[in-house]
Symmetry: C2
Subunit: 280 residues, 2 copies
């Protein structure tokens, strides 16, 4: 069994390590356009060797580069005999882009999104335990080959993840709220933060802004590919901020109290996930 990982950073490198640790593949090859990352991934033994192109003799190809690279790779590999799957943060947007390029989505492409990650990126952030107890959303379509879907799901379970099936459009709308909007807000908020602020910031600031350290190369494509759903979620937030501004300006203590209590009640329903990890 041979796996090819395209993009040997946090997600691809972690799957390579985990897949090998669990005996899923005998050989793992890497495709990595960035020379620095290529060197690091080899030095860390995330892959056995680097190749310039995905070889035809491969049982599985994991696409783990930034979101805007997924659709071009799926199109390029449309006649490949192996199972192609990905770790991208967008599903409907990517499937639509594939359809735009090749009319149909290849049957052996299984779209996946592991809800795990880190504000860190690159081969050095790779972690064999990254997928343990993480939720992996798979978004099969009518075109998806059932056997390919079953095998990919088995691989995710083998590295410790829970597999959840979801409609691709719903995935992109839900993630716009749970992940993309918080990232956008953290990036926007940090624009007004100065060194004087940093000198007197504590744990609330630390946690609220942790995702603000995330990689621009990863996040700009996510924002652009999910623009409409993200702008809708941003619109809802702007309306809620305007509402809070009015309550404050009007001195509506009871209104503020009700709003804060509702927020806390909602947050308490979330509980604590089983593992400290980021969505992306």
């Amino acid at each position: 069994m041979r796996l090819v990982v395209v993009g040997t950073g946090l997600m691809g490198g972690s799957f390579a390590l985990a897949a090998r640790a669990h005996g899923l593949f005998e050989e793992v090859l890497g495709v990595e356009p960035d020379p620095e990352r290529r060197r690091e991934a080899l030095a860390l033994a995330l892959v056995d060797a680097m190749v310039d192109e995905v070889p035809e003799a491969a049982d599985a190809v994991l696409l783990a580069g930034p979101s805007h690279t997924i659709a071009p790779w799926v199109s390029r590999l449309r006649d490949h005999s192996g199972i192609v799957f990905d770790t991208g943060s967008l599903k409907a947007a990517v499937l639509d882009a594939v359809r735009d390029r090749t009319q149909r989505v290849p049957a052996r492409f299984v779209a996946c999104h592991p809800l795990t990650g880190s504000e860190r990126s690159g081969p050095q952030a790779a972690d064999a335990g990254l997928f343990r107890d993480a939720q992996v959303i798979v978004t099969p379509t009518a075109e998806t080959d059932a056997q390919a879907l079953a095998r990919v799901s088995d691989w995710w379970r083998a590295v410790g993840a829970r597999v959840v099936t979801m409609e691709p459009e719903r995935h992109d709308r839900v993630l716009a709220v749970t992940s993309h909007l918080p990232h956008l807000v953290a990036f926007a908020y940090l624009q007004q933060v100065t060194d004087e602020h940093l000198a007197h910031a504590a744990g609330g600031f630390r946690d609220f802004t942790r995702i603000g350290e995330a990689d621009a190369d990863v996040w700009v494509p996510i924002f652009e590919l999910n623009r409409d759903a993200l702008l809708a979620a941003l619109g809802d937030l702007e309306a809620d901020l305007t509402h809070m501004r009015r309550l404050l300006e009007q001195g509506d203590t009871a209104g503020l109290h009700a709003l804060l209590a509702a927020a806390a009640a909602r947050r308490r329903r979330f509980g604590t996930p089983r593992r400290v990890a980021d969505d992306g």
Copy 2:
């Protein structure tokens, strides 16, 4: 040495435990208006006994209730022989409120703000190690007695904190950005979050919204007392969100990239504080 703690929740209860553990006071009395919290604080032995009023025979009085209760207590204790200090999240706003009530700020009142806490509250959240490695901002004025300031600073250092002196107005402006605005945003953001979102939320969501579980009884008074500085910081955020919306709508990839990279660079300057704790 006798300490009286007014408000035996997270901050007051933690100082009571820490002060006793470090032998700063022989006796600790509590004043707690809430009957449920009174029972809990006694059951947890945060204080030796509860009293209805602050007795004249007390060397120190710690005011650890919600922010809007601090100024009334300072005024009430203006002729008390002990040193009065507090843990409130606002300094200039409280000093102004005291001046409105009693013309002058009592010389033996030392305004303090420990930048530590938790999204949890109440006596059960009390923790003898809460102030270890935390920054405590003290905001003395021209009226403050030097000996009272020195003693209060020594107490904070004895429980493990670093003491930083700051001008009260500057404190309230800085904290509006570092603490009050992130809380406001987390509360606003949670308004649009449904159970469907919670089912697919991960680590980014968890950290971004942790402070959204904070106590409305604590936070509504903070927002109201620091309204002007908070609305100014909110205005800056709204402008940055509008700017990001425009970049997205215009497809300005380079502009988005520069903004995200600036945010990440700012966040990296923060580093990791020595202890996991909240500002409030």
